[in-house]
Every structure is written in C-alpha cells, then in structure tokens.
Symmetry: C2
Subunit: 337 residues, 2 copies
C-alpha cells in the first residue's frame, strides 16, 4: 500500500470536482491500485491557502469558503511558501489560463517539479509556453509533468498517443475543440442572435464575463498549439496559429446555412509540412455527410491522421467539470503507479 | 538493444501486411525502442511451414508461394512441432476465425504461452472462447496475451481501457463493428439489391465465399462478446448475444429509409445490468442527427459510456489489412518494452 500527499493549487469548479472524484474513487484506488492519499494543501487566489500535513478533511473543505482556517500553523504568505509547506508528492494545478505567457502557473509547476513532486495540470497555458522546460525538469527529477485535462477535457488524447499508439506518427488533425463556441453556434441554429447565445453561455457558467478568449478563437488556438507541440514534437506558440473566431458570424448566416443543410463549426487543424506545421482555427461550413455536422452543444471531436491507422477520431459528448476532473485522476494514477 | 525472434502463424492478407509494416518500421523500432527482430518461423495451412533460426528473409517470403523451402532442416509435420522448432519470443496468430469454439487457434496460443512466448492474435475466436485461461497462463509465465486487432482492426480499444483509462468502469457500449454489413448497407443505399451488394463485397475481398458469418451477425456477436468479456469482466459466449443479421433487409427498405432521411445500420451493444449484461446485435434505423448516420462503407464506430467520462466515442475510417497489422505491431511493442 502506497500513500501519497496531494496539494491542490486552485480550488474552483475543476478542483472541487476532482476532490469529489477522489472521494468517490477512494475504495477503488485502495482495492485496485493499492493506493491511499491525503490532501496536505489547498491554495486559492482569493479564498486563502491551507496547509495541514496530517491531511485536510476534504468533505469539510468542499463546504468551506475560506481555506486559511484549515492551517494548523501560520498560513503561508505566497504560493511558493505554500508549495514548500505542504510537502506534497503530487501538485494538481487548476488555476485560470493565461493564453499569452502561461504564467504564473508555469512557474508554480516548475517549483513543484524542482521539489520532487509530480506536476499535473488542467491548464493549457504552461503546456504551450513551457512544455519542453517542464518535461525536462520532470525527467531529471524522475517525476512526471502531465496534462491530459487540457484538450477534450478528461478524454484520453495525450495518454492515448503516449501509451496506446506506439510507433504511430501523427501527420495531421482536425477537430472541434472549443465547447463554448460550439454551444454558441448550436444556440444560433435554434434562432438565437450571437449576443443572446453568448449571454446564454455566460448564464450557465460556460463562458467568461469577457468571452473573447473563446469567441476570438484563442482557447482553440492554444489547444492546437498544445497538440502540435506535444504530439507532433514541433513547439509552436498560440500566436503562430492562423486564427479566426466566430465573432462575425450572424444569426442570419447560421439560419441560411441550416436551410442549405449545413452548419457552421469552428474547425481547428494542424498539418505537418516537412519539419514545420500549418496550424489554424477558422469557422467552416460543414454538410450533413461530415462527422462534424453532428457535434452539437459542448461536445468535441478530433480526427487524427497517422501513418499507421489512416483516419481515427475521438468524440467526447456533453463534457463538464467531472470529465476534466477524471483527466487529473488518470494522470495521478499513471504518475504514481 | 534487445533482439526478438518472431513467428507468424498464418500468412494471409493480415500476416503479410504485418510483415510489410515490420519492414517499414524497422529503423524506427531500432532508433526509438532499441529493438531489433528476426523472423524464425512462418506457418500456413496450405502453403507449408518454414523454420529458420538464423532468420527468414521477409522480403523473399513476401514473394514466395510455398514456405517449406525456407526450412534449413526437416520441415515440421504439425503446428505444435513448428511452434517448438521456431524458438520464438513472440507468436503472431492470424489464422481464420472459428466462431463456435475458437479452435484450433486457442490451443496454438496456449502452446506458445506455455513455451514462454508472448501470444498476440488478430483472431476473435480465442478471445471469446479462452480469454480467462490464456490470460492466466500468460500471467503465470510472465508473458502477455494480447489481441488489439480483434475489434475495430488496429484502432486502440483494449489498450485504451487498459493503459489510458485507469479506474474507469465501463457501463455500456454501442457501435457499428462489422465492416462487411456496413458496406453492404451502404451499397444498398446506392441502389444495389442485397445479393448484388454481397457479391460486390466478395469481389473486393471483404466478404467470404460463404458470407453468413458477417450477414447473420456472427462476426458482430463475437466482437460484442469479446468487449463484454474483456472490458466488463463478464465472460459471455457469442451464443449469449441476442443476434439478428441483415439478411432480411431489402433494397426497397433501404431506399424507403433514405427517403425519410434515415439509414439502416447493424448496431452492436452491451449494457451492464447488475452483475449480468444485456448484449445484442440488430439492424436499426438511425436518423441524420445520430453519429451512426455518417459511418459509411467499411468504417466503424464505438461509443462507450463509463462512470467517469460520460459518453466517449471512437471512429475508425476506411480500415484495411494495414490497420489490423498495426494492432499487432502495437501489441508487440507493448509486450516487449
């Protein structure tokens, strides 16, 4: 039986879903993987930081609003201090994404790896801005830097290639990778104007107050950059992805397309061209014979073309914070087994 | 650098495709996996058996029609003798499927495992008729019994669950798993009568002279039984799968469905019900909003519902012997690394 001390950096929707998943899978982890855990730290940006080496009561933490009350000693005054203090074996990072620099998350993940922790994130920023560096530090420490939850939520994409597709070379991919824009386009197909559809997504908590990260294609571009960087081995930045969002698509255009049996989709793609890659995000019209046609609401699709399998696609239907949480669990089990 | 001696039991379309794939991936296996190989045996039912411990020239073997000429000593007189004689580290079994007993393939795989070889097969029969036994022998020998190529050709299904979906419990699945019937229904949608469509599949080498294994749903039922047995941990036989084929579907019915915006598909499914399972194969009408609608020709789709990921689907587009061969390669690398 192996015991692991876990630290949560970020405790929003995804962090809390992961906490609930850990609780519900506790017996299974014990019986199937001979694995127990305790939570020694929780850190948030605006609700304080907790450290308790004896283990924080997760059920209590899930009901709390402030976390410094969980500290048995003086609360840390910075995230770096907190990382030191919680003496964890694994850091789970779920803070908001910074598209342009990946910071400060990348620095926190580096700090965790340098202290000998596994670093697991649901945050795309560090993957596109610091993948090579973090992977190298992890390797030199005999630890893992893992990020399954960053693309298609918790559905296996990176782990699929790394563990179930040996000797497969990725040639190109094409997909619907941003849930918010796909839901906006779906709502517009039901008669909403663009602004109404955006408001709907904000109301159900899918879109941010400033929705530009999604609708201008930044989130999609970061995912494309992550896939190209990790799966094709060609490090590119989001700014190198040719990018067009859905801001200029009108309700009129969507309804017109529907009359012609077509639907607008925000299509992400990457294609190897010699040693470089052509990566882009742009709205496209797809017909009823396309697999993309039936990807509605928050669902996602990605099609891969490899040298050994021809075309191979993965669809995730109606994901949520629970599926993102599963990606973190999957990474955790892989890292420690 | 590790060297492995490989033996091919069966050297038809799939065996030969695998041989070509091994040749084309030779440098990659060497450079990425520090792995070299030689072929010490090839056995066929009607073209003789070859044994050469110094390594058979694969390029020559791919052009040959008879294999006993490759023997440097007296050719073996039975498959068991051949298995002994080729002293392989890995046996690749690609003989024709026996739906009702899995024999004699299951016996050959057992013989290989008992001699300390990894046993890798593209043959569904042994998986549904001898999974528990072969898995146990493999475990007791510290070897692997692997069969990625048996469902959705070489697309990762078993390896996905075993390596990339830890702690995920499969609740149900639904899919189009038989390429021949899907191509027959596709051709009927283009105006063919049932018999014409069957003949087309026979002409292009997809359907057998006796096509009943496909059109009566046996192949699909065996795949369902394999998925239930391995991924749900509930051993069932193909005869326990409620089974209806496509023999009674007329060209008229298919065209009528098309007029209503629908398509006939042979749908396979399995659903856990407590400790048992409800498994079936039957033709169903699907509409334009279904993901099944766009799975045409020889393509396949499988949708999984798990406790952690909601609904998650895999599509393989236009597979062939090359994709089946990749499943064997993927199993090989996993077994020896």
């Amino acid at each position: 039986m192996a015991h692991y001390k876990l630290a949560f950096l970020g405790f929003g929707n995804v962090g809390k879903s992961f906490a609930r998943l850990l609780l519900s899978k506790q017996t299974e982890l014990h019986n199937l993987y001979a694995l127990t855990y305790s939570i020694t730290g929780i850190a948030t940006a605006s609700h304080g930081m907790a450290v308790d080496l004896d283990g924080i009561d997760l059920l209590r933490a899930l009901k709390a609003n402030e976390y410094q009350d969980f500290c048995k000693t003086t609360p840390p005054t910075s995230v770096e201090e907190w990382i030191d203090a919680c003496e964890a074996d694994v850091l789970f990072e779920t803070t908001p994404v910074n598209y342009t620099t990946g910071q400060p998350a990348a620095n926190y993940l580096r700090a965790a790896l340098e202290r000998g922790m596994h670093a697991i994130t649901a945050n795309k920023g560090p993957v596109v801005h610091a993948y090579q560096e973090l992977k190298q530090i992890a390797a030199s420490q005999g630890r893992y830097f893992l990020f399954e939850s960053t693309v298609l939520d918790g559905a296996p994409i990176f782990s699929l290639f790394q563990r179930a597709l040996p000797a497969a070379q990725l040639i190109s991919f094409q997909g619907i990778l941003n849930s918010t824009t796909n839901l906006i386009l779906t709502k517009m197909g039901q008669g909403d104007e663009f602004n109404q559809a955006v408001k709907y997504c904000q109301n159900i908590g899918i879109a941010e107050t400033d929705p530009s990260g999604d609708i201008d294609g930044w989130d999609a571009a970061v995912k494309v950059a992550a896939l190209v960087t990790v799966l094709m081995g060609i490090p590119i930045k989001p700014s190198e992805v040719q990018r067009q969002g859905i801001r200029d698509i009108t309700g009129q255009q969507v309804l017109q397309a529907a009359q012609e049996g077509k639907r607008w989709k925000l299509i992400c793609s990457g294609e190897k061209q010699g040693k470089s890659v052509h990566a882009k995000v742009q709205p496209e019209l797809v017909g009823v014979e396309s697999l993309f046609y039936n990807i509605m609401g928050t669902s996602s699709l990605i099609q891969f073309r490899t040298d050994v399998l021809g075309q191979f696609s993965i669809i995730e239907t109606d994901p949520g914070p629970d599926t993102t949480a599963y990606g973190l669990l999957s990474d955790f089990i892989y890292a420690v087994l």
